[in-house]
Symmetry: C2
Subunit: 277 residues, 2 copies
C-alpha cells in the first residue's frame, strides 16, 4: 500500500485528521523520566500508545534526536510503530533539500534506515532535489509550501508575476512534480485564506498543516479552508500541545496527552463536511 | 576565533581557496577498505591527511553518514580534524531549514555534537529559521542562494520585481540576516555570470562554490567571477573529483587525491588577483 492510500485508510479507521508530532524535548519530560538513558523512547512510546487510535499519522521530528545523538532511539520508535501500529503512517519530519546524488542518500536514511512512509522536503533546490524520494514508489514526499513561522513570509510571500512564491510552489508540485500521486504539501494553519488558495490549486492532494495548538492557529478556520470536498486531505499536526499537555488534577502526562489529542481530533471533526466521521 | 577569521587564516596559511568535500560513498571505496566496519573513518582520515596543507576548509556531507547510520564515524572524523588540524575550519553540509525551536536543535547538532565551525542552511523558511545558528557567535551559517544542480532554476530563477529570486536571497542575507558577519552564501560554479552578480551584491562575504570538478564548472571563469578585490572570499568545493580520483599508474587513492587537490588548488590560484599567494 502506498503512502497516500495508507494515510487515507488510517484517517478513516480513526475518524481523524490529527497528526501527532513527536518532538521529544528532554527538558520538558516528566520528572520520573529524567536521567534515564532511553527516556526519549519511553516518552514517545507512551505518547504513541495513548494516541494511536486517535491519529491519522505520527510525525517524528528528527532534529530533536540528532541534537542528542539519539538516532538509535528514533530507530526504536519507528520499529515500534511499524510492529505495533502498522496501519498508521510515519512521516519523518526532516525537511531535506540537496542535489540529486545527496538526496539519494537522504532517501535511504528516511525510507531504508527508518522505514518511514513519507518525508518532508524543501523545494528551494528544485525538482531534481525531490525526484530521488519519488523513486521509492510506495513512499511520499511532502514539500514545504507555506510555513507557519514568522519568517515564512520572507521568501514565500515574494510576488512572482503577481502571485506569491508559495502558490508557484503549489502549482509546480501539483502540475509537474507529483507525477505518481506521491506528493503532499506543508501549509501552515496560521493563514487560513492561504490554505484555501493552496487547496484550490492542488485538488485533493494531502496537506500537512502545522500551527494549531502551541502555534495558535484556529481549528475551525483551518479545517474549513483546507479540507477537500469530502472533508479529508489534511494531516493537522499538533506536537507540543499534546506531548506537554498540562495534567489536569490527578492525570499522568500520558492521560493528559490522550485527553488533548481526543479533544483536538473531535474539535477538527466538528468542522469536517463529510458524513462519514 | 570566529568562523570567518578562521577561514581567512586557513586560506592564507595554505594559499588556498579549495574546500575539500567529504562525501564518503562506500561503493566507490578502494578494495582494501571494503567490508571494514570503520571504512568511512579510515577513508576520510586518509583524504584529510593527504590534503590538509592544501585546503581552506573541509566539508563533510552529513547525508552520506546518515544513510548508513554512521554518525559515530562522522563524529570521529570531526574529532580527528579538530585535534590534528585545528587551524582548518569544518563546514557541516546539512542544508538545514526549519522553524526556530527546531533550528535550535539542529544548531546543537552542528555546533555542539559535531563542533563544526559552520553549517549550510536553506533560506526558504526565512530569517527565524536561520537566526538560531547565529546565536552561536563564533560559528557561521552558509545560506543556499544559487545552486549548481539542474533543478536549481525551478525556484531560484523566478523573477521577483524583475530580479531572480536568488539575488533577493543574496540581498536579504547581506542587508538583513548577516548582522554579526557570520554568514556566507552557496553559489554554484556552473553560472559564472550569476556568481559575479552575487559578488556585487554581497561585498566581501565568503561564497561556498560547489560545481567544479565532477559537476563541470570552469575554474578560470569561476575564480574571476567570484573572488573579492583581494583575490579571496571563496571556498571552491571539490568532492568526488578528489575523493575518487583515478589513480595514475602506481598511485594509491591517497596519492591520487593529493595530486588532484594540489592541481585544483594551483589552478584556482592562477586566476586570483592577489599578490599574496
Amino acid at each position: 500500500m502506498n503512502f497516500i492510500a495508507k494515510l487515507t485508510a488510517a484517517s478513516k479507521l480513526n475518524h481523524s485528521l490529527l497528526c501527532v508530532g513527536l518532538d521529544p524535548d528532554v527538558a520538558k519530560f516528566p520528572a520520573e523520566l529524567q536521567g534515564k538513558s532511553d527516556a526519549i523512547f519511553i516518552f514517545c512510546k507512551a505518547i504513541i500508545d495513548a494516541t494511536a487510535d486517535l491519529a491519522c499519522a505520527f510525525k517524528p521530528q528528527i532534529a530533536y534526536f540528532a541534537a542528542l545523538a539519539a538516532e538509535d532511539q528514533l530507530q526504536a520508535i519507528c520499529d515500534y510503530l511499524r510492529q505495533t501500529y502498522p496501519q498508521i503512517p510515519i512521516i519523518l519530519d526532516a525537511k531535506r533539500g540537496d542535489i540529486g546524488a545527496t538526496a539519494e542518500q537522504y532517501a535511504r536514511e528516511a525510507f531504508e534506515r527508518y522505514d518511514a512512509d513519507a518525508v518532508t522536503v524543501n523545494p528551494y533546490m528544485g525538482f531534481d532535489s525531490v525526484a530521488p524520494y519519488l523513486e521509492w514508489k510506495d513512499r511520499g514526499a511532502i514539500v514545504l509550501c507555506r510555513t507557519s513561522n514568522p519568517g515564512g513570509s520572507d521568501l514565500q510571500f515574494l510576488k512572482v508575476d503577481g502571485v506569491p512564491l508559495y502558490q508557484h510552489v503549489a502549482k509546480l508540485v501539483a502540475e509537474k512534480w507529483n507525477l505518481n500521486g506521491q506528493c503532499g504539501l506543508v501549509v501552515g494553519a496560521t493563514f487560513p485564506q492561504e490554505l484555501a488558495e493552496v487547496r484550490k490549486i492542488v485538488g485533493d492532494m494531502p496537506l500537512l498543516v502545522p500551527g494549531i495548538g502551541a502555534q495558535g492557529g484556529d481549528i475551525a478556520a483551518t479545517v474549513q479552508a483546507g479540507q477537500t470536498a469530502t472533508g479529508a486531505g489534511m494531516m493537522i499536526n499538533s506536537s507540543r500541545a499534546i506531548l506537554y499537555a498540562r495534567p489536569d488534577g490527578v492525570e499522568s502526562f500520558v492521560e493528559a496527552a490522550r485527553r488533548v489529542a481526543l479533544e483536538t481530533r473531535d474539535a477538527i471533526n466538528l468542522y469536517r463536511t463529510t458524513q462519514e466521521i
